[in-house]
């Protein structure tokens, strides 16, 4: 998990900062949020093999950091997510053309990137199933990138929720959330009564615990989303698409 500066829009603003430390912190957060969708996108859309995709992912962020290309984002023209994907397309296209030339930027590293885990996640991706990842059929580019970005956001938020619950001694609360909202093992969702019996708590507590964890999840998600958006308008648009609701409409 990368650190998320508390101030609003700090990541997008931070990557354009002249101060190297601020820029570095912002890039760590940016890479945390985007490396998975970038890697999977390169694997599926550009049909690169694992090593190549991992190299391209690292080089993309490293070069963006060195050259400050992502700092040239103009909020009026597009969402940051779209801008980043377009930059990535340009970068990969140029890299493929310029193969053989000396790679640059490889010495810059950010937060650890677990490509093996990403590869495992990719093995269940519909575009990769049955045909091998590199043979994915013409995917919906923005849809694919967005879906993986959303998955990354939720994964981070769930990890943060788990950590905060454990730190606060609220493991039962998280267990309720995990069994009801997270687990894929059961075909049919357990009822609150079943969960209550399983965890030895009253059914009303299941409602309360779920309400608490969902509220926390929502807060953590919106906090991360806010830090990755360049403007209020972009944040609200993304939040609406992410949760189907306007974050300004009720307390987060």
């Amino acid at each position: 998990m990368g650190s998320f500066p508390a101030t609003r829009h700090s990541v997008v603003a931070g990557i354009a900062s002249a101060d190297t430390h601020t820029r570095r912190v912002a890039f760590d957060a940016l890479v945390s949020a985007y490396w998975r969708p970038v890697y999977k996108y390169v694997r599926i859309k550009w049909r690169r093999d694992r090593e190549d995709a991992a190299d391209l992912t690292q080089e993309f962020f490293a070069r963006a950091f060195e050259r400050g290309s992502l700092g040239r984002f103009e909020p009026a023209r597009a969402r940051f997510r779209t801008f980043l994907r377009v930059c990535l397309d340009g970068f990969v296209a140029n890299e493929i053309k310029a193969r053989g030339r000396l790679k640059r930027g490889g010495e810059v590293s950010f937060v650890p990137l677990d490509f093996a885990a990403a590869e495992h996640e990719l093995s269940t991706h519909p575009a990769a199933l049955g045909a091998g990842v590199a043979l994915g059929a013409d995917p919906d580019e923005d849809g694919l990138f967005r879906q993986e970005w959303v998955r990354g956001l939720f994964s981070d938020a769930v990890a943060a929720l788990r950590a905060s619950c454990e730190a606060a001694g609220k493991t039962t609360q998280f267990a309720v959330f995990q069994r009801y909202d997270l687990d894929d093992s059961a075909e049919v969702r357990p009822t609150y009564a079943q969960l209550a019996a399983e965890l030895g708590i009253p059914a009303t507590q299941v409602t309360n615990y779920l309400a608490f964890t969902r509220r926390e999840l929502r807060r953590l998600l919106l906090e991360r989303l806010r830090s990755l958006c360049a403007s209020d308008e972009e944040f609200r648009l993304e939040a609406r698409e992410l949760l189907g609701t306007d974050p300004a409409s009720r307390p987060a």
Binding site: H120, V150, T191, N208, L243, A248
Partner: protein
């Protein structure tokens, strides 16, 4: 942690936006659908041990009165006690400040997703819709968004008119209940109900409604929409794109649809009951008021309507003639 599956991701997205039901007797089972301003959930009432539909309205910007309007909708629905109108069980405000109401969970399929049935059965459904809407009209409520998606047909043939979210209450100062989010609605307009604001669904909206002139909206506006509904069930087209019923639709039915969907309200049926009477008359093989049949058509209709006694008389006459021919010499 392991990767989130697509299914888990879907659940989490729903969960992050799920209403806070702590302190209530309800628990969410799943999401049924979402519209422009709210969401309908399948929920379980723990006290009564039954499943219900829970409608939770989001609070959009610039419309702080939406919760009040939702309560009005619930109250209006509560007073429309009719087998064809979904009953409201409970209203309230959730701990997160969102207004909600609980209503009967309607099982079945919306009209446009109904498996192929006979024309007579489809006409019966339209008649049931007319009955429910006529009842609402009698209580001063105009639906304003009648369409196949808002008509549910249950497994035992029961017919329920859904989504009264944009209904207009005749005589109340704020002339509608506001847009809502019951599944099947696709309102793009904000919930404002003033003059010039268009609420409803293209293809089913009467011209006066499409023009945004709420002062001209009355029971005949619903007559128009039911005419469009009738057109759909007759042509098998449920997307509202056909301007006229045509093809194999019998002429009297076409005439009923034309009268119901007349551009000017005064050229339509005066009320839904009159429309229902004509549909029932057609179904029974009787004359419909919307169609001036010629002598041949009248004879044919009467022949079809009374085919059994006519066949019996004919059989008797044939037997009599045969008897006379053989034994009458």
């Amino acid at each position: 942690m392991s990767a989130l599956s697509d299914a888990a991701l879907r659940r989490l997205r729903d969960a992050a936006d799920a209403p806070d039901l702590s302190g209530t007797k309800y628990e969410i089972v799943g999401r049924i659908g979402q519209g422009g301003m709210g969401t309908v959930y399948r929920a379980r009432d723990r006290e009564l041990g039954r499943e219900i539909a829970l409608k939770v309205v989001r609070l959009p910007e610039g419309a702080p009165d939406v919760a009040a309007r939702m309560m009005r909708e619930a109250r209006t629905l509560a007073r429309l006690e009719h087998p064809g109108i979904v009953p409201v069980h409970d209203v309230g405000t959730l701990p997160d400040g969102r207004a909600f109401y609980a209503m009967k969970l309607v099982r079945g399929a919306p009209l446009h997703e109904l498996p192929a049935t006979s024309l007579a059965e489809r006409l019966r459904i339209v008649e049931r819709v007319c009955e429910a809407v006529a009842f609402a009209h009698a209580h001063g409520v105009i639906h304003r968004d009648l369409k196949p998606q808002n008509v549910m047909v249950g497994p035992f043939g029961e017919v329920l008119v859904m989504d009264w979210g944009v209904a207009k209450v005749v005589g109340e100062p704020a002339s509608s209940l506001g847009a809502d989010g019951v599944p099947g609605t696709d309102h793009s307009a904000e919930p404002s109900t003033g003059h010039g604001v268009v609420l409803g669904t293209p293809g089913y909206m009467a011209p006066e409604q499409a023009a945004g002139d709420s002062s001209l909206v009355d029971a005949r506006t619903d007559v128009y929409a039911i005419g469009a509904l009738l057109r759909d069930v007759c042509t098998g087209n449920a997307d509202g794109s056909h301007p006229d019923a045509s093809g194999d639709v019998p002429r009297p039915l076409r005439a009923i649809i034309r009268r119901a969907m007349a551009p000017e309200p005064w050229d339509r049926y005066a009320d839904v009951t009159a429309l229902a009477r004509d549909v029932a008359a057609f179904r029974a093989g009787d004359r419909v008021t919307a169609y001036n049949e010629n002598l041949f058509e009248r004879g044919r209709r009467i022949a079809v309507r009374h085919s059994t006694p006519i066949l019996l008389v004919l059989a008797y006459l044939v037997m009599r003639v045969t008897f006379l021919a053989v034994f009458g010499r």
